[in-house]
């Protein structure tokens, strides 16, 4: 077990270090779609990974502050909403301090998601998704429909396809989540801690 955990930690660590290397950053951030739709999710996944591997005593220590995963899901939605601001997307390319903040906050959002999701149960998960997903749809639609470029550093074609992808992804996520509810039935309704 110990061996397995160590191995998994290493994968997560490799992912984070890999993403933070300048060539990987420049490659992913040169294109708006890669930046928002590949780099962001990978960082969140790396965070989720860490969250799942968090030792139990830590989870127990945190749980009084995170009943039903409420705090964790709030953190996750706050962080993701911030990184949808066009200004942030532009400035992160030229401000190293903001770039560091982006990496840390997205990782934290991932950790928060991982330790909060199951505890949240259907209702609070639904509340979280009902906040984040429509926001994604709206931002996507804004990117798609804006007559001017919202990010100075990205081409308008990239802005449009990012917008379209955000709209599709958010709708897809809503469908998947609803389907998972029907597949699992009432089981998910039981709150686990």
């Amino acid at each position: 077990m110990v061996k397995k955990i160590r191995f998994s930690w290493q994968i997560s660590l490799i992912l984070i270090v890999g993403l933070s290397l300048p060539p990987a950053r420049h490659f992913l951030e040169a294109d708006m779609r890669m930046h928002m739709l590949v780099q962001f999710p990978l960082l969140i996944i790396a965070g989720v990974w860490i969250g799942l591997l968090l030792p139990n005593y830590l989870k127990i220590k945190l749980s009084p502050y995170n009943r039903y995963g409420i705090t964790g899901l709030l953190i996750a939605s706050s962080v993701t909403s911030f990184w949808m601001i066009p200004l942030a997307l532009d400035e992160v390319l030229v401000l190293p301090s903001l770039e560091i903040a982006k990496f840390i906050s997205l990782l934290v959002a991932g950790v928060a998601l991982a330790i909060s999701w199951r505890a949240a149960g259907f209702l609070i998960q639904g509340f979280f998704l009902a906040n984040v997903l429509p926001m994604m749809t709206v931002v996507g639609w804004l990117y798609l429909a804006a007559p001017l470029r919202l990010c100075n550093a990205y081409l308008s074609s990239q802005q449009e396809s990012t917008g379209l992808a955000l709209v599709y992804l958010s709708i897809l996520a809503i469908i998947v989540w609803l389907m998972s509810f029907f597949v699992q039935g009432q089981k998910t309704d039981a709150v686990e801690l």
Partner: protein, 209 residues
């Protein structure tokens, strides 16, 4: 549950604070808006970048706008452009028409600066000016003389130029207002030309009179 409640409220407050501070009170969501606000607040002095105009003579930017002793509205273009600069060109043509009609030649001038000095030589600029039927008393065309000063110039005006898929460029378009003191005093989005000209003339009523 109380601990969760308190922590959640703290998280929400922190998140709102970050949002409010970062967007300067929900006023600034794009880099363009941020730039506009900074310019209005700081009114920075223009850099003395050496420009080459369509008649092949050179000018230092700040001195040039000060010599003209009027408001100069600056735009950035490249002559091969057929997207946003076209609409910018049309905006400037409209502005020129208004200036001619209302006899504002002594109060407002126009300056189109190309960020593609490689291609846009004075000759090319002159042809471009002719194509747009530019009035030489109102509307000047120029580019940087030394290519290595281009970055300084673009950086100062907050213009980001990125190559597109078709061998051209994409860039943010704005009307940049300089006054007779050689300062950049305001930035406006295109497509509100008439309104903004009136506003500027009122606000800087003493310039060029």
């Amino acid at each position: 549950m109380a601990k969760t409640l308190i922590t959640s409220v703290l998280v929400l407050m922190l998140a709102s604070l970050v949002w409010l501070v970062y967007t300067q009170g929900l006023r600034v969501f794009t880099k363009e808006q941020a730039r506009q606000l900074v310019v209005k607040q700081t009114q920075p002095a223009l850099p003395q970048v050496i420009l080459l105009d369509a008649t092949d003579s050179t000018h230092a930017l700040r001195s040039w706008t000060m010599q003209q002793n009027k408001l100069v509205i600056v735009e950035f273009v490249y002559t091969r452009c057929n997207a946003i600069c076209r609409s910018l060109g049309a905006e400037f043509q409209q502005l020129q028409a208004i200036i001619q009609k209302k006899n504002l030649q002594s109060r407002v001038g126009l300056l189109s600066i190309s960020f593609d000095p490689e291609h846009d030589t004075p000759k090319v600029l002159a042809a471009y000016a002719a194509r747009l039927k530019a009035d030489a008393n109102i509307w000047h065309f120029a580019t940087v003389k030394n290519h290595n000063q281009l970055a300084t110039l673009l950086n100062f005006f907050g213009i980001t130029v990125i190559p597109d898929e078709l061998g051209g460029y994409q860039h943010n378009a704005a009307l940049l207002l300089t006054d007779s003191q050689g300062k950049l005093v305001d930035v406006a989005d295109i497509n509100q030309t008439q309104v903004i000209l009136d506003t500027w003339l009122k606000k800087y009523a003493s310039v060029g009179k």
